[in-house]
Structure formats: structure tokens, C-alpha cells
């Protein structure tokens, strides 16, 4: 499974290059993180498709290597809506947080050398629960779940 860093750089570079939409490999990890970005308002659409074009019909007939997820990027007032998407937990240093520590970073306090979330900033957390595997930081707080803080988006 590719690292979340691939998705972070792909999305960030797409916004900086002012692309209309980007195509990322079709994996459960990418689908989960992109759907969180969609819910929080960073993306306008996500669609299944192939390496050629976004098309749910073609996705069914395509092979695994050709499958993609297409995400439409958002811009407003000549500015990209997403300015940075950075990894928090890296392969060199993994960061796992308990619900109390997640509460700290959501409340403007530092935890485990992770800077607190600013206004409009979100964090994507991967939990061990199958039903709520990929959640946003405040959602994890509400469900009282802890896990790996994968990335932060601003």
C-alpha cells in the first residue's frame, strides 16, 4: 500500500498548479482520505474513473492498474481552498494519539510534539475500529477513539 505521503503531495501540487482535477490510484486509503476532504469542503467532487477520464461506467470494466479516483479541486477569489496537506505520522516517526491527546490538539494545546490545529485546520486519523477506520480529529473526539494521526490539512 503506498504511503499517505503520495496522496498529500499529489493533492497539494495539484492545487498549487491550479489544476481542475487530479487522478490518484484507487485504494481504500485514498478513497477514505479524499472523502474526508470532500466532506470538509476542500474538494467539490470525487468520482471513480480510469487513467484516461473520470467515468464510473468505465471503472467497472477497467483493470486494477487502470483504475483511478478523480477529485475536482476548488478555488475561490483566485486562491486555492487547500493550501497545505502535510504528513504528521511519518515512517521515521509514527504518531499514535489517545482521545485525550486528540482533544488537546483540537483545543489549541500541543500533544506529542504535534502543533495544535489552527482555525480551519483538520487532521485525518486512522483508527483500529472497522466501522470508523478513517475519521477526522473532531469526529474521533466525539466517538472517543484514538489512533494514528496520518495528516493535517489547511
Amino acid at each position: 500500500m503506498p504511503l499517505p505521503h503520495d496522496l498529500c503531495s499529489h493533492v497539494q501540487n495539484g492545487f498549487r498548479a491550479r489544476l481542475r482535477r487530479i487522478a490518484v490510484p484507487h485504494t481504500t486509503q485514498n478513497l477514505a482520505i479524499l472523502s474526508i476532504l470532500l466532506r470538509e469542503g476542500f474538494l467539490s467532487t470525487i468520482t471513480r474513473g480510469t487513467s484516461v477520464a473520470p467515468s464510473p461506467a468505465d471503472w467497472h470494466t477497467a483493470t486494477e492498474a487502470q483504475r483511478r479516483i478523480w477529485a475536482d479541486l476548488k478555488y475561490r477569489d483566485d486562491r486555492p481552498v487547500l493550501s497545505s496537506m502535510e504528513l504528521v505520522s511519518k515512517p521515521s516517526k509514527k504518531i499514535f494519539m489517545e482521545p485525550g491527546e486528540i482533544q488537546a490538539i483540537c483545543s489549541g494545546r500541543r500533544a506529542k510534539f504535534v502543533a495544535p490545529l489552527g482555525m480551519g485546520e483538520i487532521a485525518v486519523i486512522r483508527t483500529r475500529q472497522k466501522e470508523h477506520e478513517w475519521v477526522e480529529a473532531r469526529e474521533a473526539l466525539r466517538l472517543q477513539l484514538g489512533g494514528e494521526v496520518v495528516c493535517r490539512v489547511r
Binding site: E40, G41, F42, R79, V81, G120, E121, E136, R138
Partner: protein, 332 residues
Amino acid sequence: MQLTRLSSSPKIKRSASLARIPKVMQRISTSSSILRSTGVRARITPAALTLPNTRGARTRPGTLPATTSSRPHFIHPKLSKVDKFPDLLAVDPLLDAPTTETIPSFRKRQPPGRLTIHPSPLPFAKHKVDTSATEGTASVKLPPAFNNNSLHRFPLVVKRVVQQTGKGKIPSMYALVVVGNGRGLVGYGQGKGDGAMKAVDKAYNDALKRMDTVDLFENRTIWTNIDIKLGATRIVMRPRPVGFGLAVNPYLHQVCKAAGIKDLSAKVYGSRNGMQIIKAAMMVFHGGSAPQGLGDGVGGKGSREEAKEGMRSRDVIERERGRKLIEGSGWL
């Protein structure tokens, strides 16, 4: 009374007789024609200090009492030394301060409501336009809303700079002035001149042209933590609660005061060059509203001062994402 003697006395003695007269009387013009017409007790007083003498007026039998008498008298002896009274058409900051009333709540255990009444400018108050322009210097004309006194004006950097030419050194003075109205408008300007005063004036005019709004949270602090780097100067700013004050670098202190930021915590890392600190702070405060200076070829190159993102308010972020920044907006 001495005044009658004054008209008849020769010029040499006049000064001596004037010395014996109380100070109030000395201000009165001692033209002889007036003294002759009004008689013995001639007291010429300012009109504001006089009252129409309606009561106790001496009337001749067979005539109605005069509504205005030719014999005015003082309101109060102490007020005779007042040159002018306060202008009641203008709103006085001390006497006409906003009044606060507490309204008890109908519900139990609820805090009382507070109503603050601000005095509005009176409909017949005159607009005082300052039309006196300084000769020689091309100063920027401000709209009537800005009086020269109501703008914060801080010359923060004044230094001697030199232009080296083949024939020698040409010195001049450089100034950086920060200007603000203390309520969300701030700008900085730079100027050079032969002397410090000229440089400061040029910088002040430049700053007035470059003023821009600052989006503030509750009109007192910034919205979120900010980290900005300009060259070797790195500034970290943090919003703080009500009453905290400004725990910031001295240059940032004046910039915040001019901008109207009352609560802030900031730390400057690396270089503490005054010019760079002020420019970095302006990139943060102005950057949110200004368009990104990418340089489209039509307007020219993008400037370094507009390079960074800057601070943006909550409603700007909400509008661009299309949802409120409340807990659960992403999953509910």
C-alpha cells in the same frame, strides 16, 4: 469711578490709572466715544456673559418695562474669565460617553441583559473640513473622517543612508512610518530625504496611500496561530483572550496599536531587523484580503510583500469551503 477720569486725563497719566483698574476692565476698549455715551458705570462685557435684565428693571411711570435692557450684568463673577464655552453641537468624549443600562432577565438564573446607548452625532453638527494645505510639500488630502490628530503615526525606523558615487558619498535620511486608525486600518510607508523631518513626511504620505484593512476577531485579536518568515526574520503570532494585552516585540507593539489589535502574543526568531519585522507583520495582516501577487504580466511583476498567504477570517474560510466551521459539519 476711575473711567470717567480716564477720558479727560492726558496721555501720560493713562497708563498709571489703568494699573489701578481690575484685570477684567483692562480688556475693555477704552475708546472715549463709548465711555461718553454709556456714562459712569460703563462695562462692556462679552455677549455670552450677559442676561436680559427683565426683572427688577427700573421703568419710568407710564411706560412698559423694556424686554432687553441696555444695562447687562454678569451671570457669575467667576465665569467672566471664560473666553468661550464648550461647543454643545459636538459630541464630547467625556461628557457624552456611552451609557450602559442593565435589564433584568425574565428567566430565572439568567444573567441580566446589558444595553449600551452610544451618542449619535447631532443632525445639525457642522462638518469641519481641514482645508489648510501645507505649502511646499505635496501632502495627501484625507477625507473628513480622518482628522490629522486621530491617526496613529509612528516613525519606527529613522536612519542615515549613503549613496556612494565616484565623486564621494551622498548622505540622506531614511524613515519608515506606520500609520493606523486604531480600529482596523493600518499601513506602512518608506521615505527618503535630506533631513529626518522630510523623510518622515514622505514616509507618512506613502503610508497613507498604502493603508489597508485588517480582519480581526472581535476587533481585538487575530484569528489563528500564524507563522511567517521573511528573509531571516521569522515571526510566530498567537491570538490571546480578552484583557491579555500585547506581549510582543516593540516594533510589533506599535504596529498592533496602530491596527487596533489589543491582545496578542508573538515571538520573533532569527533576525530582529525592524524593517523586516514590520514588513512581515504587514504581509500577515494585509495578505488575507489582497489578491495573490502572482504577476500576470499586465500589472507587472508580483511584489514580495504580497507573496505570502496572510491571515484570513472565519467567514472567508466558511465561504470558500461552503460549510460552517462547527463540529460535525463534515460528518453530520
